[in-house]
């Protein structure tokens, strides 16, 4: 049973079709990586999933319900959490308050759950710091904590490891693996080592369309994928 699916999802900006007729299925409990060269339409695609922009055509279904017409905040309330590619925390609020806003929205107990969420990303001792004073890597981790604190059914992470140190990346991979199967994860990621370590399946986007999809080893070995993406990176 798919938790999330799209049919014919398309987004055009004037003459440029950023996402073109994408059919996509994400089963409950899976950790899926979404990869592709820069400009392949990954961020636009997830933007359509969580309602940050309206599609030109096509539908999005979540848990059997057509959510194509729902506003972003309504989709979030159904259990989709989104962490931003470009760090978007509440810079002038404390790390604690950033996470508390995520906890309170679903009626959770901020006093108990905020330290837990911060603990999971290793920021518990920074709870009192202003989010804007945290290092870039720590702001990324705070984003992830805000995603976790929503206890989503589907967690969409847009390039979460950008700017993280190697040790933090290791901890992040362990954290994401521990989320399944309760939480389904859709991960946009450029770091192939992260993808190979955590993803159960990979979808490759190129020029807004699905180029390949399958198990990590299969996708990595796919000549078309290598030509479009992996080859380019390793060269």
């Amino acid at each position: 049973m798919s938790l999330l699916s799209t049919q014919g999802l398309t987004k055009a900006f004037g003459g440029l079709t950023a996402v073109s007729d994408v059919d996509f299925e994400l089963p409950q409990g899976e950790i899926r990586a979404l990869i592709g060269p820069n400009g392949a339409g990954k961020t636009t695609f997830v933007g359509l999933l969580c309602g940050r922009m309206a599609p030109s055509a096509g539908t999005v279904r979540f848990d059997g319900q057509d959510i194509s017409r729902l506003a972003a905040h309504e989709r979030i309330r159904l259990g989709i959490a989104y962490t931003f590619q470009i760090t978007s925390v509440f810079a002038r609020l404390s790390a604690h308050e950033n996470v508390a806003l995520a906890v309170r929205r679903r009626g959770g107990d901020a006093v108990r759950e905020v330290p837990e969420a911060l603990q999971r990303v290793g920021l518990r001792d920074r709870a009192g710091d202003l989010a804007g004073d945290l290092s870039y890597g720590h702001q990324r981790l705070l984003e992830i904590a805000m995603g976790l604190a929503q206890k989503p059914r589907l967690l969409i992470l847009d390039e979460p490891t950008q700017g993280l140190a190697d040790s933090e990346i290791d901890a992040f991979c362990a954290l994401v693996r521990g989320l399944a199967p309760e939480t389904t994860v859709l991960l946009i990621e450029h770091n192939m080592s992260v993808v190979m370590r955590v993803a159960q399946k990979i979808t490759v986007l190129n020029f807004g369309a699905v180029l390949a999809e399958g198990a990590p080893e299969v996708v990595q070995a796919d000549p078309a994928v290598q030509a479009a993406y992996l080859g380019g990176v390793e060269a």
Partner: protein, 314 residues
């Protein structure tokens, strides 16, 4: 003392001081402070929208005037007593705020400023257009005999001060409670990063509309009490000047602080009062002080206090 304890001690302390001052102040300052407290209530309402939610309105005179006319017209033409008339005033402001908010909140930033400015101008022109009832620019007086509420003759300095004090206390404590609530924290989140708040699942539009209604309601309460306490209702209070003043007071005192509106209103009132005692060019003095504050205390008086000394100030 815990931070919550300090917050309550400070704010209740200020209210205690204001209450006590009525017994010791000379008549002139006694009257001034009563007026300042009503105007500061107006600023408290403005601050909820501008300081805490980040919505810069250039049309708050319309809510002040809605309260004033809602109260005044009900007394003048319907023969209502002050109690129900005040309620009519507040409700007028809330309804106007809901209508204006529902339309103006479709815009952001400069667009929002212009739309609120235009709505306020429309309200002002409506007040003039229906001059037969409102007596337009000239306005009308509410007779002393009608200004009696619960046995208090509001034309007398003592009751007037007391009622102004009750109004200001209610508005300030309401704003403090709102900003300590989950709703208030979402307003701050919207001010800080609207897109992030939306992507945490908050209905940004509904929260903003709530802030506009609350802000408009408090401004209207201030307008209604102002008309009743000082016995005059007129279209002057719907002019652009009365939209700019609360912005100025809030900026001076500290946007997004609970005490800022009062401190800013008091400061501006006495700045004009004192400087006009020395020179007829008092607006020049006021201008220079405002420029100095804008250069050296960008966050306003209470805002600077919070940034430098008391980080726990709400």
């Amino acid at each position: 003392m815990s931070e919550a304890g300090k917050v309550w001690a400070l704010h209740l302390g200020l209210l205690g001081l204001l209450f006590a001052l009525q017994f010791v102040l000379p008549a002139y300052h006694h009257g001034n402070l009563a007026r300042v407290m009503v105007l500061a209530s107006f600023a408290v309402g403005y601050n909820l929208m501008f300081g805490y939610t980040g919505l810069l309105s250039l049309g708050h005179a319309m809510f002040f005037a809605a309260g004033m006319y809602g109260m005044g017209l009900a007394m003048r033409h319907l023969g209502w007593t002050p109690g129900p008339a005040l309620i009519a005033g507040v409700l007028s402001g809330v309804v106007l705020a809901l209508v204006v908010g529902a339309l103006a909140l479709r815009t952001v930033g400069v667009g929002f400023m212009i739309v609120t400015l235009m709505f306020a101008q429309a309200v002002y022109l409506v007040a003039l257009y229906f001059g037969e009832w409102t007596r337009g620019d000239e306005g009308f007086v509410i007779q002393q005999a009608e200004r009696v509420m619960m046995g208090l003759d509001l034309s007398q300095p003592g009751p007037r001060y007391f009622v102004a004090f009750v109004l200001f206390s209610a508005c300030m404590l309401l704003s403090l409670r709102v900003m300590q609530s989950g709703f208030g924290k979402v307003l701050i989140a919207i001010r800080e990063n609207e897109e992030r708040a939306r992507m945490l699942g908050y209905n940004v539009f509904r929260h903003k509309l709530g802030a506009v209604a609350l802000s408009g309601g408090i401004a209207a309460a201030a307008g209604a009490f102002y008309g009743l306490l000082f016995g005059y209702v007129g279209a002057t209070f719907a002019t652009t000047q009365y939209s700019i003043l609360p912005l100025l007071w809030v900026l001076l005192g500290g946007a997004g602080t609970i005490l800022g509106p009062f401190v800013g209103t008091l400061f501006a009132f006495y700045l004009i009062d004192i400087s006009s005692g020395f020179t007829t060019a008092h607006m020049l003095v006021v201008g220079v002080v405002l420029v100095a504050l804008a250069l050296f205390a960008r966050q306003g008086i209470v805002g600077e206090l919070r940034a430098r000394l008391w980080r726990w100030l709400p």
